[in-house]
Symmetry: D2
Subunit: 349 residues, 4 copies
């Protein structure tokens, strides 16, 4: 009989769900004991995802809390916005620990959520209970918590790239501009003109200018760290590739800080945190350098001519930007080493 | 016997050169009478570019001015940086009109050129003689000129997107930040790790931060239009696609100008100039929407929360960003309608 | 007032329809006078296809024959299977010439159509009336006809690559095996998991083995040319690219024919037909060498060790495989030069 | 001190080398103790491959046998053709076990090697000593051997797809035709026009028709299994993607065998061999379904009309087609479970 902690995945037929299956397959202390889909319960997951043939042979379960509790100790919610707001409370009440990968518990204000997501917000008491699991920043809060709200993909790349500089006063928060780019998998598996191959291949597009629901999430944490309200310009683009996010960030530098100052600051800040890697001067990371792994790689360039710093931060949106960081949070919740089961070397080329 | 104006292309074995051949094939008043390559003289161009089989059956000529003059009235220089600086004067002295697609005559200051290009600058008198052919802005100067310096790909997308707003005082030039992205063909046909398929596919990279040689070119014209020196932050990225450039530009808005104000301003500014298309509010162009054509498409979004405008400008880097604009300049030089032979509908999808 | 022949496009919001618009924009003797969509009548085509902004400013018409007849002399049907079977008869009865780009009139046998297409076949009399417009083979029949059934994309690449060899007895028809590959645009604009970017990017898939509806179309013409029934193995694959088809074809060579024999045979066979280009020995075409153009490029290799020839044939599926060949057929129908308005140089790179 | 077996990688700066580093990073019984490059000795591997930052911090060693022997028990040769033929004998004489991933020891005949590879062959005695490590077929020979010649990428996909049917007499070996397609990473990291992004993106090409050096390797094993000489038609194509090979194979079926017969045969044949997965009828694998993993997935379709079977076999060329199978052979050599350290779930999407 297995000694591993059983985990259930609600939303197993989405990209976040199958990525959890991929990553957890080699976890030394946790194992997937239930794969769950409201729409496809009873079917075999490998019928929809043949890459899981002979790897995940279970039939899909339904979303019932009691059933899940009988099979698992922890539940991941890898569901579209508006689902976890309804399901998570029942899972918590059933005694499960829960990690929500959607945006339903990230914003502390229900009004903000409803304004940006155009959906009904989750109950305030559960929002208040959720710990925002930006692991390298709030890991201490995650340890011992039973309900984690996993950060969004863009906010993860962006905040890990900005927070040390804000905290140390190296940049002026009012001047921050974030130009972000994502691979298409961030849009999920739903078929639409917006995810159609012939429309996106050999194309580079901007979308949702000044309307993306990750804006309030980014600003909430920027403001927390800055100690005062911060509003920011944040633009999202679609890159003709499947995985990867880059946030290119601009801000006015204070006190004449140099590229080397930024590099030193970030290396110190993230010391001991294996998943953030800081590049040396004159080199900036490409998204492929973290493909398939839980790394966030960051590079810098301060321009004396303009007095601005450019910060480049990359992640794999499905790993560090979703399922990988969720497992990192599982590790922290359970009191394990945060890197457990996450030693994936980026797949290059 | 043909009544068409004969044109010669120096650098016919580069991407800019073959794109000139493609575009000029249907020009009603000009025809390619000599394809020229210093390295491959005597060979058939279709041996290196089989897509030109039975279309361009000429052997490649050498770079000799007298030979070219005997075959053509106008010469295009589609050569790497540092070549036209040496060749163009002799062509002009031989009585040819010349259009240089490289960067060798774009910067008025030889010191600037040598600092950014790390090559010896062209003779000052020829730099002074060259007209900067940003057609929608300086078309009047191009008419009747005999030597045109064709703008760079990034500067074309960027300047067409910024200049009307600067001229009208809608934005503060000191706040401009330009986040630019290009397909790989901009790097030319030379084989290197930087153009290697497996390194670039499914990858998104930033490069040459604050060091790109298009920075002084952009600033030179921004300053001219602003009427005072402008320095700017300009970042370049490589997109896993072949053609297309997007410049996403940020600036602080003055006097409460709205998205609709920008749209009206630009529509008026570019009235009668067929190759600039302004999108309506809430829509921004993707690079594929101009693929293979001479269009520059522009969209806007003013954010009340931040007081900034985001401007999105796209071109095909090989057409409007190089060979297409060069033909537009040929048309202007010759006193023809600027759109002659350039009615290419974007190839979509 | 225009002297051009007016053409209407039914199915203007599909990829075949917008490609007709792109190609016809520079046609010297025909012009699009009505763009038609049953589902989007009244809307502006540029709202769904922003690349047509300021190029095609017409509102979409409905499918009514009298309306079309009032605006046009010729109608193209660029509709999904099962639509032209119902619409085309009324257009013909209204006095329009018609070119059907779908498969509805390609198979002479209604039973065959219904078995492979799983839809009700068109009326037999209209099937009988339709001329199969494989232009380089049946151009003489197309001249003067009023109803053309335009060949499928795979059949075009395949048949142009095989027919001369069969006709000349260079290969044994019983041994033909066709391994075909297509870009994704062949699947149309409909959103589905099968056209989803993240599912197809960095993926190569086989589909519809031995079930593709182009099999009977290929066999019908192979049999006609061979003079006896031919069955063949035909496999289709999806390539992670937008445009392009390659058919790699295998057959046992008769009478010791060599690579050079095949090259000579095909060059003679297609002499004077501008859109077929035969490569020299040791070189085979890639799909990009015909991208955006109406060419079909063909290469050969006879292997003495096995006694088989490998024939490689490429086209742009949206041009020679659909809209381009349809215009070629329009030219032939109207008694014009078949190349009119089709001198597109492939867009490379 | 580590109890793991030390392994050295010669050719660490190639794609095969870095893939060995990725895969071995999580191996429970082996660890990389020396990374070796003749051209870059002394440099840090992460300088050329930033994705290995903080993962592989060693400086590159030179190719000296004594040095390697002092650090490792087993050496992998992930070198271009013509290198292992010279290096491997010295490594073996130094007492190292060796696994050659190149083609230098695959062909039993030196004449064949020199005819197809155009290089001097390895010494005959070492060729004779090398065991051809097609693990699922010759695993018994690999156990206990000290020198393995790892199969080529195309031969692996092809032979695993054909051998059971030949052995069981289900197909006629004389009729086999193999149409193979590969991602670009198979061409290695060397920069050339043939690996240039803009030349390959949105392009599908055939290459080396009837001349590929994997032909004699495939025929050697086909002949061994058939019990008589087999010659075969084998075509290679380049797909615009980084990883993945598909072999689509055709043969005439004997004795009326059906699709289900093939499926049963292969399931029985590969029973207990975890890395071969057989698809059910009506479904065929895509390359992405094995991306990043050591699987070879196979599907079938028998066509009654033609009496032929189509067999579709896919692998990741860098894993099962190179470094993954090499580790599988390491496991077999060492007497370990062949799946050790190779439980990678395909990365999808």
């Amino acid at each position: 009989m297995s000694e591993k902690v059983g985990v259930a995945i609600v939303g197993s037929t989405g990209y976040g769900g199958v990525e959890l299956i991929r990553l957890l397959a080699s976890h030394p202390k946790a194992e997937v004991t239930s794969v769950i889909s409201s729409s496809s319960a009873g079917e075999l997951i490998a019928d929809g995802y043949p890459h899981l043939t002979e790897i995940c042979t279970d039939a899909l379960d339904g979303v019932d809390p009691a059933l899940i509790k009988s099979k698992a100790d922890v539940v991941f919610l890898a569901t579209p916005a508006g689902v976890a707001s309804k399901l998570a409370p029942a899972y918590l009440e059933a005694g499960l620990k829960a990690i929500d990968i959607s945006g339903d518990y990230r914003l502390r204000s229900r009004e903000q959520y409803e304004a940006w997501y155009k959906k009904e917000a989750a109950p305030q008491e559960y929002i208040d209970r959720a710990v925002y699991g930006l692991a390298e920043i709030y890991g201490d809060r995650v340890r011992g918590a039973d309900f984690i709200s996993n950060p969004g993909c863009y906010p993860t790349a962006t905040l890990l790239g900005l927070l040390p500089a804000i905290k140390a006063g190296y940049i002026d928060p009012a001047t921050i501009i974030i130009d972000a780019k994502s691979g298409v998998s961030g849009a999920g598996r739903g078929a639409s003109l917006g995810t159609h191959y012939s429309e996106l291949n050999e194309n580079f597009k901007a979308y949702k200018l000044n309307k993306h629901q990750h804006i309030p999430e980014i600003e909430q944490t920027l403001s927390d760290i800055a100690g005062h309200p911060v509003v920011t310009t944040f633009t999202t683009h679609l890159v003709p590739m499947t995985r990867g996010i880059m946030s290119t960030m601009y801000a006015t530098v204070k006190d004449g800080r140099t590229t080397e100052d930024f590099i030193s600051l970030y290396r110190n800040f993230y010391e001991g945190r294996k998943f953030v890697r800081v590049r040396k001067a004159g080199v900036w990371p490409g998204t492929k350098e973290v493909w398939g792994s839980n790394y966030c790689d960051i590079g810098f360039d301060v321009d004396d001519r303009t007095g601005r710093v450019t910060i480049v931060s990359v992640i794999d949106n499905l790993v560090k930007g979703a399922s990988g960081q969720a497992i990192q949070n599982l590790n922290l919740m359970m009191g394990w080493d945060e890197t457990l089961g996450l030693h994936f070397v980026p797949a290059y080329p």
